[in-house]
Symmetry: C2
Subunit: 233 residues, 2 copies
Protein backbone atom coordinates (compact mmCIF):
# COMPACT_ATOMS: atom_id res chain seq x y z
CA UNK A 1 0.00 0.00 0.00
CA UNK A 2 1.20 3.47 -0.87
CA UNK A 3 -0.25 6.16 1.37
CA UNK A 4 -0.29 9.28 -0.79
CA UNK A 5 -0.77 12.68 0.84
CA UNK A 6 -1.68 15.26 -1.78
CA UNK A 7 -0.56 18.82 -0.99
CA UNK A 8 -0.44 18.46 2.81
CA UNK A 9 0.15 21.76 4.60
CA UNK A 10 0.66 20.92 8.29
CA UNK A 11 3.84 19.19 9.53
CA UNK A 12 1.93 17.75 12.50
CA UNK A 13 -0.46 15.98 10.14
CA UNK A 14 2.35 14.59 8.02
CA UNK A 15 3.98 13.32 11.20
CA UNK A 16 0.68 11.88 12.48
CA UNK A 17 0.07 10.04 9.20
CA UNK A 18 3.56 8.54 9.39
CA UNK A 19 3.01 7.50 13.01
CA UNK A 20 -0.27 5.75 12.24
CA UNK A 21 1.45 3.95 9.34
CA UNK A 22 4.16 2.75 11.69
CA UNK A 23 1.57 1.70 14.30
CA UNK A 24 -0.31 -0.42 11.77
CA UNK A 25 2.63 -1.75 9.81
CA UNK A 26 2.61 0.24 6.55
CA UNK A 27 5.84 1.73 5.25
CA UNK A 28 5.41 3.46 1.91
CA UNK A 29 4.52 7.14 2.33
CA UNK A 30 4.39 9.43 -0.72
CA UNK A 31 3.85 13.16 -0.71
CA UNK A 32 2.63 15.02 -3.76
CA UNK A 33 3.61 18.64 -3.88
CA UNK A 34 3.75 19.13 -0.11
CA UNK A 35 4.24 22.54 1.44
CA UNK A 36 8.04 22.43 1.62
CA UNK A 37 8.39 23.91 5.09
CA UNK A 38 5.87 21.44 6.48
CA UNK A 39 7.69 18.45 5.03
CA UNK A 40 11.04 19.67 6.35
CA UNK A 41 9.63 20.35 9.82
CA UNK A 42 7.87 16.99 10.00
CA UNK A 43 11.09 15.24 9.01
CA UNK A 44 13.24 17.02 11.54
CA UNK A 45 10.75 16.52 14.40
CA UNK A 46 12.09 14.51 17.31
CA UNK A 47 11.06 10.89 17.04
CA UNK A 48 10.23 11.12 13.35
CA UNK A 49 9.62 7.56 12.36
CA UNK A 50 11.46 5.46 9.85
CA UNK A 51 8.36 5.83 7.67
CA UNK A 52 8.87 9.58 7.50
CA UNK A 53 12.54 9.46 6.71
CA UNK A 54 11.87 7.04 3.87
CA UNK A 55 8.98 9.12 2.48
CA UNK A 56 9.22 10.11 -1.19
CA UNK A 57 8.22 13.40 -2.71
CA UNK A 58 6.60 13.83 -6.12
CA UNK A 59 5.57 16.80 -8.22
CA UNK A 60 2.45 15.20 -9.65
CA UNK A 61 -0.09 12.54 -8.71
CA UNK A 62 0.70 10.60 -11.90
CA UNK A 63 4.25 10.01 -10.72
CA UNK A 64 3.17 9.06 -7.19
CA UNK A 65 0.65 6.43 -8.30
CA UNK A 66 2.84 5.21 -11.18
CA UNK A 67 2.89 1.43 -10.89
CA UNK A 68 -0.28 1.01 -8.81
CA UNK A 69 -3.02 -1.29 -10.08
CA UNK A 70 -5.73 0.32 -7.94
CA UNK A 71 -6.03 3.97 -6.96
CA UNK A 72 -8.49 4.89 -4.22
CA UNK A 73 -9.25 8.44 -3.08
CA UNK A 74 -10.63 9.38 0.31
CA UNK A 75 -13.40 11.93 0.64
CA UNK A 76 -15.74 13.30 3.26
CA UNK A 77 -18.38 12.83 0.57
CA UNK A 78 -19.97 16.21 1.23
CA UNK A 79 -19.16 17.52 -2.17
CA UNK A 80 -20.86 18.25 -5.43
CA UNK A 81 -21.24 15.37 -7.81
CA UNK A 82 -18.47 12.82 -7.58
CA UNK A 83 -17.51 11.16 -10.81
CA UNK A 84 -16.43 7.93 -9.20
CA UNK A 85 -18.21 5.26 -7.15
CA UNK A 86 -18.28 6.03 -3.42
CA UNK A 87 -17.76 3.17 -0.96
CA UNK A 88 -17.95 3.04 2.81
CA UNK A 89 -14.68 2.22 4.55
CA UNK A 90 -15.91 -1.14 5.91
CA UNK A 91 -16.53 -2.43 2.38
CA UNK A 92 -13.84 -0.50 0.55
CA UNK A 93 -11.13 -1.84 2.84
CA UNK A 94 -12.15 -5.38 1.91
CA UNK A 95 -11.60 -4.64 -1.76
CA UNK A 96 -8.27 -2.96 -1.06
CA UNK A 97 -7.07 -5.97 0.93
CA UNK A 98 -7.90 -8.27 -1.97
CA UNK A 99 -6.25 -5.95 -4.49
CA UNK A 100 -3.06 -5.78 -2.44
CA UNK A 101 -2.56 -9.46 -3.13
CA UNK A 102 -2.37 -8.61 -6.84
CA UNK A 103 -0.37 -5.40 -6.97
CA UNK A 104 0.37 -2.09 -5.30
CA UNK A 105 -2.59 0.05 -4.26
CA UNK A 106 -2.48 3.83 -3.76
CA UNK A 107 -4.66 5.40 -1.07
CA UNK A 108 -4.96 9.15 -1.61
CA UNK A 109 -5.65 11.78 1.03
CA UNK A 110 -6.26 15.39 0.00
CA UNK A 111 -5.04 18.57 1.63
CA UNK A 112 -6.38 19.56 5.06
CA UNK A 113 -8.41 22.42 3.70
CA UNK A 114 -9.77 21.29 0.37
CA UNK A 115 -9.48 17.52 0.21
CA UNK A 116 -8.86 15.98 -3.20
CA UNK A 117 -9.51 18.12 -6.27
CA UNK A 118 -11.63 16.99 -9.21
CA UNK A 119 -8.38 16.56 -11.12
CA UNK A 120 -7.03 14.31 -8.32
CA UNK A 121 -10.26 12.31 -8.26
CA UNK A 122 -10.10 11.69 -12.00
CA UNK A 123 -7.12 9.42 -11.26
CA UNK A 124 -9.11 7.31 -8.78
CA UNK A 125 -10.89 4.07 -9.60
CA UNK A 126 -13.28 4.79 -6.74
CA UNK A 127 -13.62 6.80 -3.55
CA UNK A 128 -13.61 5.78 0.08
CA UNK A 129 -15.71 7.41 2.78
CA UNK A 130 -15.21 7.07 6.51
CA UNK A 131 -18.73 6.74 7.98
CA UNK A 132 -18.66 9.97 9.98
CA UNK A 133 -21.78 11.88 10.96
CA UNK A 134 -23.61 13.80 8.22
CA UNK A 135 -23.49 16.95 10.35
CA UNK A 136 -19.72 16.72 10.78
CA UNK A 137 -18.18 14.72 8.00
CA UNK A 138 -14.76 16.23 7.62
CA UNK A 139 -12.06 14.54 9.68
CA UNK A 140 -8.61 15.63 10.75
CA UNK A 141 -6.05 14.30 8.24
CA UNK A 142 -3.95 12.35 10.74
CA UNK A 143 -7.05 10.78 12.27
CA UNK A 144 -8.51 9.87 8.88
CA UNK A 145 -5.27 8.07 7.94
CA UNK A 146 -5.29 6.21 11.29
CA UNK A 147 -8.91 5.07 10.92
CA UNK A 148 -8.44 3.87 7.31
CA UNK A 149 -5.28 1.92 8.13
CA UNK A 150 -6.91 0.42 11.22
CA UNK A 151 -9.78 -0.89 9.09
CA UNK A 152 -7.21 -2.40 6.69
CA UNK A 153 -5.45 -4.40 9.44
CA UNK A 154 -8.62 -5.07 11.44
CA UNK A 155 -9.21 -8.75 12.12
CA UNK A 156 -12.92 -9.53 12.02
CA UNK A 157 -12.30 -12.90 13.67
CA UNK A 158 -10.88 -11.06 16.68
CA UNK A 159 -14.41 -9.72 17.30
CA UNK A 160 -15.42 -13.23 18.37
CA UNK A 161 -14.61 -14.16 21.95
CA UNK A 162 -12.11 -16.95 22.41
CA UNK A 163 -11.39 -17.39 26.08
CA UNK A 164 -13.67 -16.31 28.90
CA UNK A 165 -10.98 -15.01 31.24
CA UNK A 166 -9.21 -16.93 34.00
CA UNK A 167 -10.25 -20.53 34.88
CA UNK A 168 -13.26 -20.64 37.19
CA UNK A 169 -13.02 -21.94 40.77
CA UNK A 170 -13.75 -25.62 41.45
CA UNK A 171 -17.21 -26.28 42.91
CA UNK A 172 -15.88 -27.45 46.26
CA UNK A 173 -13.92 -24.25 46.69
CA UNK A 174 -17.01 -22.18 45.90
CA UNK A 175 -19.04 -24.22 48.36
CA UNK A 176 -16.36 -23.77 51.01
CA UNK A 177 -16.48 -20.05 50.42
CA UNK A 178 -20.28 -20.10 50.71
CA UNK A 179 -20.15 -22.04 53.98
CA UNK A 180 -17.55 -19.80 55.56
CA UNK A 181 -19.44 -16.72 54.46
CA UNK A 182 -22.65 -18.14 55.90
CA UNK A 183 -20.90 -18.83 59.14
CA UNK A 184 -19.68 -15.24 59.25
CA UNK A 185 -23.22 -14.03 58.58
CA UNK A 186 -24.55 -16.18 61.39
CA UNK A 187 -21.88 -15.10 63.83
CA UNK A 188 -22.53 -11.45 63.03
CA UNK A 189 -26.28 -11.86 63.56
CA UNK A 190 -27.30 -11.33 59.95
CA UNK A 191 -29.27 -14.61 59.65
CA UNK A 192 -32.79 -14.83 61.04
CA UNK A 193 -33.01 -18.35 62.63
CA UNK A 194 -36.58 -18.83 61.30
CA UNK A 195 -35.50 -18.35 57.65
CA UNK A 196 -32.05 -19.86 58.04
CA UNK A 197 -32.41 -22.73 55.56
CA UNK A 198 -33.72 -20.59 52.71
CA UNK A 199 -31.05 -17.99 53.51
CA UNK A 200 -28.35 -20.55 52.84
CA UNK A 201 -29.85 -21.43 49.47
CA UNK A 202 -30.16 -17.81 48.49
CA UNK A 203 -26.57 -17.21 49.47
CA UNK A 204 -25.37 -20.12 47.33
CA UNK A 205 -27.06 -18.61 44.28
CA UNK A 206 -25.65 -15.21 45.14
CA UNK A 207 -22.12 -16.59 45.31
CA UNK A 208 -22.54 -18.57 42.11
CA UNK A 209 -23.38 -15.37 40.27
CA UNK A 210 -20.04 -13.89 41.31
CA UNK A 211 -18.32 -16.17 38.76
CA UNK A 212 -15.30 -16.50 41.02
CA UNK A 213 -12.03 -17.54 39.43
CA UNK A 214 -9.93 -20.22 41.10
CA UNK A 215 -7.15 -17.78 41.88
CA UNK A 216 -9.44 -15.15 43.38
CA UNK A 217 -11.34 -17.70 45.49
CA UNK A 218 -8.10 -18.58 47.23
CA UNK A 219 -7.69 -14.93 48.26
CA UNK A 220 -11.34 -14.60 49.32
CA UNK A 221 -11.08 -17.69 51.51
CA UNK A 222 -8.14 -16.14 53.32
CA UNK A 223 -10.05 -12.93 53.94
CA UNK A 224 -13.10 -14.80 55.19
CA UNK A 225 -11.07 -17.01 57.54
CA UNK A 226 -9.50 -13.96 59.07
CA UNK A 227 -12.91 -12.33 59.60
CA UNK A 228 -14.27 -15.55 61.13
CA UNK A 229 -11.33 -15.74 63.47
CA UNK A 230 -12.01 -12.17 64.63
CA UNK A 231 -15.74 -12.84 64.95
CA UNK A 232 -14.96 -15.92 67.07
CA UNK A 233 -12.92 -14.00 69.62
CA UNK B 1 -20.49 6.86 26.33
CA UNK B 2 -18.24 9.10 28.40
CA UNK B 3 -14.86 9.69 26.81
CA UNK B 4 -12.54 10.35 29.75
CA UNK B 5 -9.10 11.87 29.13
CA UNK B 6 -6.91 11.43 32.18
CA UNK B 7 -4.28 14.14 32.68
CA UNK B 8 -3.99 15.20 29.03
CA UNK B 9 -1.12 17.64 28.41
CA UNK B 10 -1.46 18.80 24.80
CA UNK B 11 -4.26 21.14 23.67
CA UNK B 12 -4.03 19.75 20.13
CA UNK B 13 -4.78 16.26 21.42
CA UNK B 14 -7.74 17.44 23.49
CA UNK B 15 -9.07 19.22 20.42
CA UNK B 16 -8.45 16.17 18.21
CA UNK B 17 -10.30 13.90 20.66
CA UNK B 18 -13.27 16.30 20.64
CA UNK B 19 -13.25 16.45 16.85
CA UNK B 20 -13.28 12.66 16.49
CA UNK B 21 -16.17 12.52 18.97
CA UNK B 22 -18.10 15.00 16.89
CA UNK B 23 -17.28 13.10 13.69
CA UNK B 24 -18.61 9.86 15.09
CA UNK B 25 -21.56 11.22 17.06
CA UNK B 26 -20.39 11.12 20.70
CA UNK B 27 -20.94 14.13 22.94
CA UNK B 28 -19.82 13.51 26.51
CA UNK B 29 -16.18 14.46 27.04
CA UNK B 30 -14.68 14.44 30.54
CA UNK B 31 -11.24 15.57 31.56
CA UNK B 32 -9.58 14.43 34.74
CA UNK B 33 -6.97 16.78 36.08
CA UNK B 34 -5.96 18.23 32.70
CA UNK B 35 -3.03 20.54 32.34
CA UNK B 36 -4.95 23.81 32.78
CA UNK B 37 -3.26 25.77 30.03
CA UNK B 38 -3.88 22.95 27.57
CA UNK B 39 -7.58 22.80 28.35
CA UNK B 40 -7.96 26.57 28.06
CA UNK B 41 -6.06 26.67 24.76
CA UNK B 42 -8.03 23.79 23.30
CA UNK B 43 -11.28 25.49 24.26
CA UNK B 44 -10.36 28.83 22.79
CA UNK B 45 -9.07 27.32 19.55
CA UNK B 46 -10.89 28.45 16.44
CA UNK B 47 -13.50 25.93 15.46
CA UNK B 48 -13.59 24.27 18.87
CA UNK B 49 -16.52 21.93 18.62
CA UNK B 50 -19.68 21.86 20.69
CA UNK B 51 -18.22 18.73 22.30
CA UNK B 52 -15.31 20.72 23.64
CA UNK B 53 -17.35 23.59 25.03
CA UNK B 54 -19.60 21.13 26.87
CA UNK B 55 -16.65 19.15 28.27
CA UNK B 56 -16.56 18.71 32.05
CA UNK B 57 -13.51 18.83 34.25
CA UNK B 58 -12.96 16.63 37.32
CA UNK B 59 -10.28 16.40 39.97
CA UNK B 60 -10.38 12.62 40.30
CA UNK B 61 -11.24 9.59 38.21
CA UNK B 62 -13.85 8.49 40.77
CA UNK B 63 -15.89 11.63 40.10
CA UNK B 64 -15.54 11.34 36.33
CA UNK B 65 -16.74 7.72 36.15
CA UNK B 66 -19.38 8.24 38.88
CA UNK B 67 -22.59 6.72 37.50
CA UNK B 68 -21.02 4.45 34.88
CA UNK B 69 -21.87 0.75 34.92
CA UNK B 70 -18.80 -0.23 32.91
CA UNK B 71 -15.35 1.36 33.00
CA UNK B 72 -12.88 0.45 30.26
CA UNK B 73 -9.28 1.65 30.09
CA UNK B 74 -7.20 1.86 26.93
CA UNK B 75 -3.60 0.71 26.89
CA UNK B 76 -0.82 0.04 24.43
CA UNK B 77 -0.41 -3.21 26.35
CA UNK B 78 3.36 -2.93 26.45
CA UNK B 79 3.50 -2.62 30.17
CA UNK B 80 4.39 -4.68 33.22
CA UNK B 81 1.70 -6.99 34.51
CA UNK B 82 -1.80 -5.68 34.00
CA UNK B 83 -4.26 -6.50 36.72
CA UNK B 84 -7.29 -6.49 34.47
CA UNK B 85 -8.33 -8.57 31.44
CA UNK B 86 -6.99 -7.20 28.15
CA UNK B 87 -9.25 -7.26 25.08
CA UNK B 88 -8.60 -6.39 21.45
CA UNK B 89 -10.59 -3.45 20.16
CA UNK B 90 -12.63 -5.52 17.69
CA UNK B 91 -14.05 -7.64 20.53
CA UNK B 92 -14.05 -5.04 23.29
CA UNK B 93 -16.11 -2.63 21.20
CA UNK B 94 -18.80 -5.30 20.87
CA UNK B 95 -19.08 -5.57 24.64
CA UNK B 96 -19.16 -1.79 25.05
CA UNK B 97 -21.96 -1.49 22.49
CA UNK B 98 -24.02 -4.03 24.41
CA UNK B 99 -23.31 -2.36 27.75
CA UNK B 100 -24.36 1.04 26.41
CA UNK B 101 -27.88 -0.33 26.07
CA UNK B 102 -27.90 -0.87 29.83
CA UNK B 103 -26.15 2.18 31.25
CA UNK B 104 -23.37 4.72 30.78
CA UNK B 105 -19.92 3.41 29.91
CA UNK B 106 -16.66 5.26 30.57
CA UNK B 107 -13.78 4.87 28.11
CA UNK B 108 -10.51 6.06 29.66
CA UNK B 109 -7.45 7.36 27.82
CA UNK B 110 -4.25 8.09 29.75
CA UNK B 111 -1.85 10.98 29.36
CA UNK B 112 0.26 11.26 26.21
CA UNK B 113 3.47 10.36 27.96
CA UNK B 114 2.58 7.73 30.54
CA UNK B 115 -0.81 6.30 29.62
CA UNK B 116 -3.04 5.19 32.48
CA UNK B 117 -1.42 4.63 35.88
CA UNK B 118 -1.88 1.47 37.96
CA UNK B 119 -4.19 3.51 40.19
CA UNK B 120 -6.27 4.53 37.12
CA UNK B 121 -6.37 0.92 35.93
CA UNK B 122 -7.67 -0.29 39.30
CA UNK B 123 -10.93 1.51 38.45
CA UNK B 124 -11.32 -0.37 35.16
CA UNK B 125 -13.35 -3.53 34.66
CA UNK B 126 -11.07 -4.42 31.78
CA UNK B 127 -8.62 -2.93 29.30
CA UNK B 128 -8.86 -2.29 25.59
CA UNK B 129 -5.95 -2.61 23.15
CA UNK B 130 -5.84 -1.23 19.63
CA UNK B 131 -4.16 -3.95 17.53
CA UNK B 132 -1.09 -1.91 16.62
CA UNK B 133 2.24 -3.48 15.71
CA UNK B 134 4.30 -5.02 18.53
CA UNK B 135 7.32 -2.94 17.48
CA UNK B 136 5.37 0.32 17.67
CA UNK B 137 2.42 -0.05 19.96
CA UNK B 138 1.94 3.42 21.37
CA UNK B 139 -0.46 5.60 19.39
CA UNK B 140 -1.02 9.34 19.31
CA UNK B 141 -3.84 10.22 21.73
CA UNK B 142 -6.11 11.90 19.17
CA UNK B 143 -5.66 9.04 16.73
CA UNK B 144 -6.31 6.41 19.40
CA UNK B 145 -9.60 8.12 20.31
CA UNK B 146 -10.60 8.29 16.64
CA UNK B 147 -9.86 4.60 16.01
CA UNK B 148 -11.75 3.43 19.13
CA UNK B 149 -14.82 5.53 18.34
CA UNK B 150 -14.77 4.40 14.72
CA UNK B 151 -14.86 0.77 15.84
CA UNK B 152 -17.82 1.60 18.09
CA UNK B 153 -19.90 3.06 15.23
CA UNK B 154 -18.57 0.65 12.61
CA UNK B 155 -21.30 -1.24 10.80
CA UNK B 156 -20.17 -4.77 10.03
CA UNK B 157 -23.07 -5.19 7.61
CA UNK B 158 -21.64 -2.32 5.58
CA UNK B 159 -18.68 -4.56 4.77
CA UNK B 160 -21.00 -6.63 2.58
CA UNK B 161 -21.63 -5.26 -0.88
CA UNK B 162 -25.18 -4.24 -1.61
CA UNK B 163 -25.31 -2.66 -5.03
CA UNK B 164 -22.73 -3.24 -7.69
CA UNK B 165 -22.57 0.34 -8.89
CA UNK B 166 -24.64 1.88 -11.67
CA UNK B 167 -27.06 -0.31 -13.69
CA UNK B 168 -25.28 -2.24 -16.43
CA UNK B 169 -25.90 -1.54 -20.11
CA UNK B 170 -28.55 -3.55 -21.96
CA UNK B 171 -27.16 -6.34 -24.13
CA UNK B 172 -28.25 -4.74 -27.40
CA UNK B 173 -26.41 -1.54 -26.51
CA UNK B 174 -23.26 -3.50 -25.73
CA UNK B 175 -23.59 -5.38 -29.01
CA UNK B 176 -24.08 -2.12 -30.89
CA UNK B 177 -20.95 -0.77 -29.25
CA UNK B 178 -19.05 -3.93 -30.23
CA UNK B 179 -20.22 -3.69 -33.84
CA UNK B 180 -19.34 -0.03 -34.22
CA UNK B 181 -15.96 -0.65 -32.64
CA UNK B 182 -15.35 -3.56 -34.97
CA UNK B 183 -16.26 -1.40 -37.92
CA UNK B 184 -13.80 1.22 -36.74
CA UNK B 185 -11.12 -1.43 -36.40
CA UNK B 186 -11.81 -2.67 -39.93
CA UNK B 187 -11.81 0.80 -41.42
CA UNK B 188 -8.53 1.60 -39.73
CA UNK B 189 -6.93 -1.61 -41.02
CA UNK B 190 -6.57 -3.35 -37.65
CA UNK B 191 -8.43 -6.52 -38.67
CA UNK B 192 -6.67 -9.18 -40.68
CA UNK B 193 -9.27 -10.47 -43.21
CA UNK B 194 -8.12 -14.08 -42.71
CA UNK B 195 -8.85 -14.05 -38.98
CA UNK B 196 -11.78 -11.66 -39.16
CA UNK B 197 -14.46 -13.95 -37.72
CA UNK B 198 -12.45 -14.98 -34.66
CA UNK B 199 -11.43 -11.33 -34.18
CA UNK B 200 -15.07 -10.35 -33.81
CA UNK B 201 -15.65 -13.00 -31.16
CA UNK B 202 -12.56 -11.98 -29.26
CA UNK B 203 -13.68 -8.39 -29.37
CA UNK B 204 -17.11 -9.28 -27.99
CA UNK B 205 -15.49 -10.96 -24.99
CA UNK B 206 -13.15 -8.02 -24.57
CA UNK B 207 -16.06 -5.57 -24.47
CA UNK B 208 -18.07 -7.75 -22.12
CA UNK B 209 -15.26 -7.63 -19.62
CA UNK B 210 -15.47 -3.83 -19.57
CA UNK B 211 -18.71 -4.13 -17.52
CA UNK B 212 -20.11 -1.03 -19.22
CA UNK B 213 -22.87 0.83 -17.43
CA UNK B 214 -25.94 1.95 -19.41
CA UNK B 215 -25.08 5.60 -18.94
CA UNK B 216 -21.45 5.25 -19.99
CA UNK B 217 -22.34 3.16 -23.04
CA UNK B 218 -24.40 6.03 -24.36
CA UNK B 219 -21.32 8.27 -24.20
CA UNK B 220 -19.06 5.63 -25.75
CA UNK B 221 -21.44 5.16 -28.66
CA UNK B 222 -21.28 8.89 -29.34
CA UNK B 223 -17.50 8.84 -29.36
CA UNK B 224 -17.37 5.80 -31.64
CA UNK B 225 -19.87 7.26 -34.12
CA UNK B 226 -17.77 10.38 -34.39
CA UNK B 227 -14.61 8.36 -35.01
CA UNK B 228 -16.43 6.25 -37.63
CA UNK B 229 -17.64 9.37 -39.38
CA UNK B 230 -14.10 10.69 -39.52
CA UNK B 231 -12.74 7.33 -40.72
CA UNK B 232 -15.38 7.28 -43.45
CA UNK B 233 -14.37 10.63 -44.87
Amino acid sequence: LRVVLVAPRNPLNIGAAARAMSNFGFSSLRLVNPYEVAFREARSAVGASAVLSAACEFQTIEEAIGNCTLVVGTTAGTRRELHAPLRRLEYGARIIRKSLAEGPVALLFGSEKFGLSNEDISHCHWLLRIPSRDEHRSMNLGQAVAVCLYELIRDSRAAIPKSKGPPPAATDQVELFTSLLYEAMERSGYVNPRTASSAKLKLRHLVKRLSLSGKDTFVWLGILRQILWKLGQ
